[in-house]
């Protein structure tokens, strides 16, 4: 077990897969000479050369389309969005082209491509640069959405995503790139669609993913257990679509209570979908209505006080747990 940063874990995944399969290449703004705006592609230009590590102009729709065309013609592109916020100018390419190509072509052309980059809020980046957009992609048939919360998962899931035959939306977090964690020394992959219990518990289940799981939920669990006097089970679906409902259902059948903590906006968010599926699959097991903690339904402001007030935090999670535990 080596300890690496999440940035290194992602870098290793791309490095190994590019070494393994020369159809794989990386394309995006500042990925080559600059070694990545967040240094995730550090050293890859030096190792693989400008043919496979490609700097692009600011033209997201253009290079997204180039990735899709290259994939249709047999390559396996990794397209980096400097941040997922900028993917919205390429949204039509992903939704109407990458996601639908296989179906519209009746099976003639599939699109093995990974779109990756950081999503969610960092610190003081403001409304356009702090968005958690997973719901906008998970809503679209034809796409898979992956959101790792630690180094081991990040590397294993990215390798699987690069080998995947369908378009994968791989959402990282810039404030997690420095997070350290252990990864196996030998090669490994992690299948898409399989969640993981990040912490065993018996009284209440929390489902959460990505940064809010790693930086807010997990660091708060012990304190929450003490303050509330309960045992909390924490589930990380790791893949948003397909969602590992079975794992969540099994946990809720045990705890009878569910709180979903996500960084995205509430209306028609991922948590709403989990609520629908769970209220169907575990209706009789739920002793309390499912609670969600989300970003407030506002554009995220710059000022720290307002930013904090808008994002999920300890107090909000505690209140949600109290609600499902009828402790208020």
């Amino acid at each position: 077990m080596a300890v690496v940063s999440l940035r290194e874990a992602l870098n290793q995944a791309m490095d190994e897969e590019m070494t393994r399969d020369d159809r794989v290449f990386l394309m995006g703004e500042e990925v080559a000479q600059y070694n990545g705006a967040y240094k995730v592609s550090q050293g890859l230009l030096a190792k693989f050369g400008a043919k496979r590590i490609v700097d692009t102009p600011i033209a997201e729709a253009g290079f997204t389309g180039i990735g899709i065309g290259a994939a249709m013609a047999g390559l396996r592109p990794i397209v980096e969005f400097m941040t997922w916020n900028f993917s919205l100018v390429a949204y039509d390419q992903i939704v109407n082209h990458a996601a639908k190509m296989l179906s519209m072509s009746g099976g003639h052309f599939h699109v093995p491509i990974v779109f990756r980059g950081p999503g969610g809020a960092a610190h003081g980046l403001g409304a356009t640069h702090s968005q958690s957009l997973e719901a906008l992609y998970a809503h679209i048939p034809g796409l898979k959405v992956v959101m790792p919360s630690n180094c081991r998962d990040a590397k294993g899931l990215l390798k699987t995503s690069i080998r995947e035959e369908n378009p994968v939306i791989f959402i990282e977090s810039e404030v997690m790139y420095g997070d350290k964690g252990e990864i196996p020394d030998q090669e490994y992959t992690i299948p898409l669609g399989v969640g993981e219990i990040k912490r065993e518990g018996s009284d209440v289940t929390i489902v959460s993913w990505s940064k809010v799981l790693a930086h807010v939920v997990l660091p708060s669990v012990e304190k929450l257990e003490q303050e509330l006097g309960v045992s909390i089970e924490v589930i990380d679906p790791r893949t948003i679509k397909p969602m590992d409902y079975d794992l969540i259902v099994a946990s809720v059948k045990k705890t009878n209570r569910l709180v979903i903590v996500e960084e995205g906006w509430p209306f028609a968010g991922v948590g709403g979908q989990i609520t629908y599926e769970l209220s169907k699959r575990a209706f009789d097991s739920l002793d309390a209505p499912i609670e969600r903690v989300t970003q407030e339904d506002v554009p995220l402001p710059y000022a720290k006080v307002l930013e904090k007030a808008s994002l999920p935090n300890f107090e909000k999670i505690k209140r949600a747990l109290e609600a499902v535990l009828y402790k208020n």
């Binding site: 253009g62 065309g69 013609a73 390559l75 390419q93 009746g106 369908n166």
Partner: protein, 341 residues
Amino acid sequence: MSISTPAVVSKKQPARFLGLSRETLLQWYDDMLLVRRFEEKCAQLYGMGKIMGFCHLYNGQEAVSTGAVKGALNPDDYVITAYRDHGLAISKGVDPKAVMAELLGKYTGTTKGKGGSMHIFDREKNFLGGHAIVGGHLPIAAGVAFASKYRGEKRVCLCFMGDGATNIGEFHESMNLAALWKLPVIYIIENNMYSMGTSVERSSAVENMTKKALAYDMRSEVVDGMKVLDVYEKVKAAVEQARETYEPSLLEIRTYRYRGHSMSDPVHGHYRTKEEVEDRKKHDPITLFADLLKSGSLITDDELDEAEKRIKIIVNECVEFAENSPEPPREELWKDVYYGE
């Protein structure tokens, strides 16, 4: 598609035939005629409610698909276009039976009835669609060319678009990237003078589309889209250039759409007069080509009639095949959503 080869070996042709054999020229004539008659049949079937949704016909633009695709390309070269795709697909060698079956939503169609008129695809023929979001396929074409260059192949990608498509952002991004990275893609504007009911002068700041290439220092040329041999010659030159040097081109092929924008739109109206349409039809690409062939006594009126009969049979076979084909089974709804699942 077989044609009657002459008993006598055709003697050297005059220069205006670009050294093409009579056989080739007659095959091209057949191709243009097939596209014309195929589309006329589509109009009929649409009127009968057998073809659904949006159906954009190619009538008037046949010299483009024949000269550029059937004429100037190798089989392993790629073609991609927008929704007005029947003619280009047929000229690329896609089985017209499968195209017709697709239009009727049948399981034997090019995409098993999933794509319909706007989304003809054929991997084997390197026909990459058939795309219905204006401009959306332009960067995809650059990506196909990127892959060809990445693998060191000499395959080029021919990307067709309408005049209206040149005003959308992806046109700019694609042109800049293709020129900046030297991608072997030839962008062809089929300038039929209108984007639905909007004339070029009301939608583009420049009417001469080749001016748009100046912003990228890209090779460009104007082509007479009513003359199949002019289309062939100039597209061929652009293709050779891309094959040898990876240099892309932007070609403006001036053509004309005889029908309404789609089957649900009027042939003429506020945006163009009946007279204009009738006048344009006087310079019909198929008639012009027939006259040219006759001028070189490469074809006789009898042979023209034979061609009509030959094509009529093919088109009827297409309809028969389509009509007798089964609809896709219900389970197909869940297939081709995720590859291999």
